[in-house]
């Protein structure tokens, strides 16, 4: 087994290489404009405005790549970091794209006439379409929940607006043609635009085509405590894939993998199986998950995975501390079941927060798993039953101090649960002097 340091440094190097390539793909096409012959020079602010316009457009185009689920790219960071970066960088791209015309309007107010779409030339109309689409896209992404937009509706709109924003942006750039009069520079930028579209086609068409050849069948649907269901899926006509305990996959229910919206779920089953069978445990959260219990055995489904950096296999340790809140138990269950199947003798402490005793998913199985591995389960209940002598309230630094052997900084911590709980636990661990490198979390509330 490789040391933790060796594994981590390999991921750091890969992460830095991908970050450098990302910056190159934003800035390279812009600096290519300086090669060869140049159009007449303009003042500093006009040139700066043009530069941020080009950079902003490249950032928008590369957004298709950030969500294209290239496992080799996302692995060093984890999907949740990549998706959060995708969201944050879109705000910056919007800032740059908006600053581009604002600077031009300030230094040359007569250009404000271009805002009149009835009289403006097509290149200015394309710029307006691109900017308005981008603003709508960001508003819908940031306030989707407040605007009460269904995830599936939002997802489709998001893709349409993104194509519109980038397509109109490229049309504006080519239409203006100040820098792109040179045929090879125009060809270079059109090539980049095609590259961005290819990234989108990869995730929407090419990847589903591969998934089409690797379908799964629902083998079993089991009711679990806590209004949750475990869906067991068996590969059909192929050996399936090997995942690492703690990882997840995108699940698409139904007869086609070409559906716009898949949903990410952690595996809850052991990773130490040979027949490719996987299980996901899904809680009814009132959205599409409310129909999980009605999924018939034999239904065809598609899985895109495995993904995620949240795994015990990537962080070898002498002792694992697993901290779960509610349905955040699913990746932990996969870790515990896998360690049991591997006859791992290292101690595992599970701190498991729930609302009440009746809704503790996997309660009985966790109890029986104590026979097969060195597992300690500490239940923390928000509303404990009468006579409860265990932990009450929420998992916090005091609970850690009572149940974990010091020094706290020596253990590896895995955290999964609601955002509020994860924020509180990360803060508590930080107060206990646990270094960042020792705790691992993955958040699936991508949007």
């Amino acid at each position: 087994m490789q040391s933790e340091g060796a594994i981590q440094s390999r991921f750091v190097v890969r992460g830095v290489v991908w970050a450098a390539l990302y910056l190159f793909l934003i800035l390279g096409p812009m600096f290519a404009l300086l090669a060869g012959s140049h159009p007449p020079t303009r003042d500093f602010w006009t040139e700066f405005s043009a530069a941020i316009g080009y950079a902003g457009l490249a950032m928008m185009g590369l957004q298709f790549g950030l969500t294209a689920r290239f496992r080799y790219v996302t692995e060093p960071w984890g999907e949740d970091v990549i998706y959060h970066f995708h969201r944050q960088i879109s705000l910056i791209a919007v800032g740059l794209v908006l600053a581009h015309p604002i600077i031009l309007f300030i230094i040359q107010p007569e250009r404000l006439a271009l805002l009149n779409s009835f009289t403006a030339p097509w290149r200015a109309r394309f710029a307006a379409v691109s900017t308005y689409s981008l603003i709508a896209l960001v508003v819908m992404a940031v306030w989707r929940v407040k605007l009460n937009i269904r995830y599936e509706t939002w997802h489709l709109t998001h893709i349409v607006l993104a194509i519109l924003a980038v397509g109109a942006g490229v049309a504006h750039m080519v239409g203006w043609s100040f820098y792109l009069d040179d045929p090879w520079k125009r060809a270079l930028w059109i090539f980049f635009a095609l590259f961005w579209i290819a990234l989108l086609l990869y995730i929407r068409i090419i990847k589903p085509l591969f998934m089409l050849r690797r379908p799964y069948r629902v083998a079993q649907v089991r009711k679990e405590r806590g209004d949750s269901w475990t869906v067991a899926m068996q590969p059909e006509g192929h050996p399936g894939f090997h995942f690492r305990p703690g990882q997840f996959a995108w699940l698409t229910m139904g007869s086609t993998p070409f559906k716009i919206t898949g949903h990410p779920f952690s595996f809850s089953s052991s990773a130490a199986v040979d027949d490719g069978r996987v299980e996901m445990t899904i809680r009814n959260l009132g959205d599409f998950t409310s129909e999980i219990g009605d999924v018939p055995v034999g239904r065809r489904v598609y899985l895109d995975g495995p993904y995620g950096a949240f795994t015990i296999d990537r962080n070898p340790a002498d002792m694992h501390v697993l901290i779960a809140g509610g349905v955040g138990i699913t990746p932990m269950m996969s870790m515990i079941r896998t360690l049991a199947d591997r006859a791992d003798k290292r101690p595992v402490i599970l701190l498991y927060g729930n609302k009440d005793w009746d809704t503790v998913t996997f309660r009985e199985e966790l109890d029986s798993l104590k026979q097969r591995l060195n597992l300690t389960v500490v239940h923390v209940l928000e509303k404990p039953p009468a006579g409860w002598t265990g932990e009450k309230g929420f998992i916090n630094a005091a609970v850690f101090a009572r149940h974990l052997p010091p020094p706290f900084a020596d253990h590896e911590y895995f955290i999964c649960g609601p955002d509020v709980m994860m924020d509180a636990i990360e803060k508590a661990l930080s107060e206990l002097g646990v270094p960042l490198s020792k705790y691992h979390s993955e958040r699936y509330s991508f949007v």
Binding site: F48, A51, I52, A55, G78, L96
Partner: protein
């Protein structure tokens, strides 16, 4: 904490892009790239 990492990556990217855009404008207005 992981989101903080993504936040800082985004801020770092923004700073590099803005700095490089300034460099682009300086180079374009310099004698070499006229």
């Amino acid at each position: 904490m992981r989101r903080l990492l993504a936040d800082w990556l985004a801020v770092g990217t923004a700073l590099v892009v803005i700095a490089m855009s300034v460099l682009f404008a300086i180079l374009r207005t310099s004698n070499n790239f006229r």
